[in-house]
């Protein structure tokens, strides 16, 4: 009952040939499209079931192409499962591609407001903490300039500051973000760890295995769209490392 994320036997397939047919081709090949051959599909996830409890930090590890990002997108709700069901009962704050909602022609301040609301606050709530966001990002003097004039570092710092100030309930992190310079990296890392310690539910995907061991108590090892191992992060990471070093 206190499962924040409940994933039940989820399957997800993608069509293999991604070049989109035009309208003409579609009409000509209509019969082929109707009973499309399932050989040309790629199953990214094959029957995944996961429960994430309130306040837990779950690490997800695995090779490239194991289905980690697909799983995150499914939890996020930007894609739908082909089969199976997903229930999420908390507000999600994604730290995946931070700044995805930024528009280059809008100023830093305008972008903070829109992104804050997209990430789950009301406009009044954003306005109430906008100065905190700006001061955390450390780019006060540029905040009323269009974002397109920012350096990559400034852009990411602002995006991270917005995300962290939206009262996250369920954090979804793809790699601990290396944002900005040394000092800001330290600051952002500390802010994230503080949130996780406070009991914000976290799903953490990473190739940095020592970080997974350090931050998460439980971990899941995904391989080829299936759960290969699940349990204490120490042990799962150990098994995974053994396979990488000794396996073919």
């Amino acid at each position: 009952m206190n499962g924040v994320v409940e994933i039940k036997d989820v399957w997800k397939k993608f069509p293999m040939h991604r070049d989109k047919p035009g309208f003409k081709e579609f009409l000509v090949n209509l019969p082929k499209f109707v009973n499309r051959n399932s050989n040309s599909d790629f199953w990214a996830l094959k029957g995944i079931s996961i429960d994430v409890k309130q306040g837990e930090c779950l690490g997800i590890i695995g090779k490239n192409g194991a289905g980690k990002s697909t799983l995150l997108s499914l939890i996020l709700g930007t894609i739908y499962p082909t089969k199976g069901g997903i229930k999420v009962s908390q507000k999600i704050t994604p730290l995946l591609d931070i700044g995805a909602g930024f528009h280059p022609d809008l100023t830093g301040r305008e972008n903070i407001i829109i992104n804050g609301v997209l990430l789950g606050l009301t406009k009044d709530e954003v306005m109430g903490r906008i100065e905190d966001v700006v001061s955390f990002s450390g780019i006060k003097e540029f905040i009323d300039m269009p974002v397109r004039t920012y350096s990559t570092g400034m852009y990411l710092r602002l995006a991270f500051s917005v995300a962290i100030h939206t009262d996250p309930e369920l954090l979804i992190i793809d790699e601990i973000l290396a944002v900005g310079d040394e000092a800001f990296q330290k600051k952002s890392r500390e802010a994230l760890l503080a949130l996780i310690k406070e009991g914000v539910t976290t799903i953490f995907v990473s190739h940095n295995l020592s970080a997974v061991k350090e931050i998460c108590r439980r971990a899941i090892w995904l391989d080829d769209g299936m759960i290969q191992a699940e349990g204490e992060s120490e042990k799962v990471v150990g098994d995974y490392l053994r396979l990488i070093t000794h396996g073919q």
């Binding site: 989109k20 309208f23 739908y80 995805a100 022609d105 829109i114 609301v117 997209l118």
Partner: protein
């Protein structure tokens, strides 16, 4: 108001404002263009119809503009929203929020132009001696809502279909200009033979534009046209929602 509802309202408002801001970013006159554009258009048409192409109808410029401005809201919305979904890939793939808000915001942002054009129409009406009157205050909001409904239905469907078949963009260009001539904009509804008029319900804009013209030109509330256009508008909205939801489940695979 419930917090989640307030947040949705804020989001829609911010997305709309973003569309408007972006439209006039890096221009000197800014949103003033929304007023200047229809004025210039009115002057051009006035010169065209008074000097070059003398149409025998009385006050033809007024006749034309009273239908053209509402039509422009529709055609601009459809043209703009065709690319809305594929133009916001980042947002759609990375953040979970109601995707139809993008379409609704596009339509609302285009409404600004119509609102700025109404004072110009009011001048014409005042000069002709028939309006504007209290009837305007009743009818214009009703017509704006009705037109919003049909535009939303069509835009939802088209923007989603365009994500699957980019050919839509080119088809829409042609269909829009066809629709322009099939709608009583440059000609009055009455020149269409009685026997064909029944089919005109299929074009949701026919009676809508007629009702616009009745109120703007004659200060007359044409309840019959309003009723017919609301009927077909709701039909188109239903269709749009079905297409949007049906195809929306696989949107991530095609954009």
């Amino acid at each position: 108001m419930n917090r989640e509802l307030r947040r949705k309202k804020d989001l829609l408002w911010l997305l709309t404002r973003k569309e408007i801001t972006l439209k006039y970013k890096r221009t000197i006159l800014g949103v003033l263009w929304s007023l200047l554009n229809p004025i210039l258009l009115a002057i051009v048409l006035f010169i065209a119809f008074k000097i070059f192409m003398r149409i025998k109808m009385e006050n033809y410029t007024f006749f034309f503009l009273s239908a053209l401005f509402p039509w422009n809201w529709f055609s601009a919305s459809v043209t703009m929203s065709t690319g809305t979904l594929i133009g916001n890939v980042n947002l759609i793939k990375k953040i979970h929020f109601p995707r139809h808000f993008l379409i609704v915001a596009t339509i609302l942002a285009q409404l600004v132009n119509l609102l700025f054009a109404l004072p110009i129409i009011a001048c014409f009406s005042y000069l002709s001696g028939k309006g504007p009157g209290i009837n305007w205050l009743i009818t214009i909001p009703i017509l704006i809502v009705g037109q919003f409904i049909v535009t939303a239905g069509i835009c939802l469907a088209i923007s989603m279909v365009n994500a699957y078949f980019r050919d839509m963009e080119y088809i829409i260009g042609v269909v829009i200009s066809l629709l322009f001539w099939m709608t009583p904009i440059v000609y009055p509804l009455r020149i269409i033979p009685e026997t064909f008029r029944i089919y005109l319900v299929l074009n949701p804009l026919t009676y809508l534009i007629t009702a616009w013209r009745e109120i703007l030109m004659s200060n007359h509330i044409d309840w019959r046209s309003i009723g017919i256009s609301y009927g077909s508008s709701l039909g188109f909205l239903l269709l749009g929602i079905l297409v949007f939801q049906g195809l929306g489940k696989k949107l991530d695979e095609v954009i």
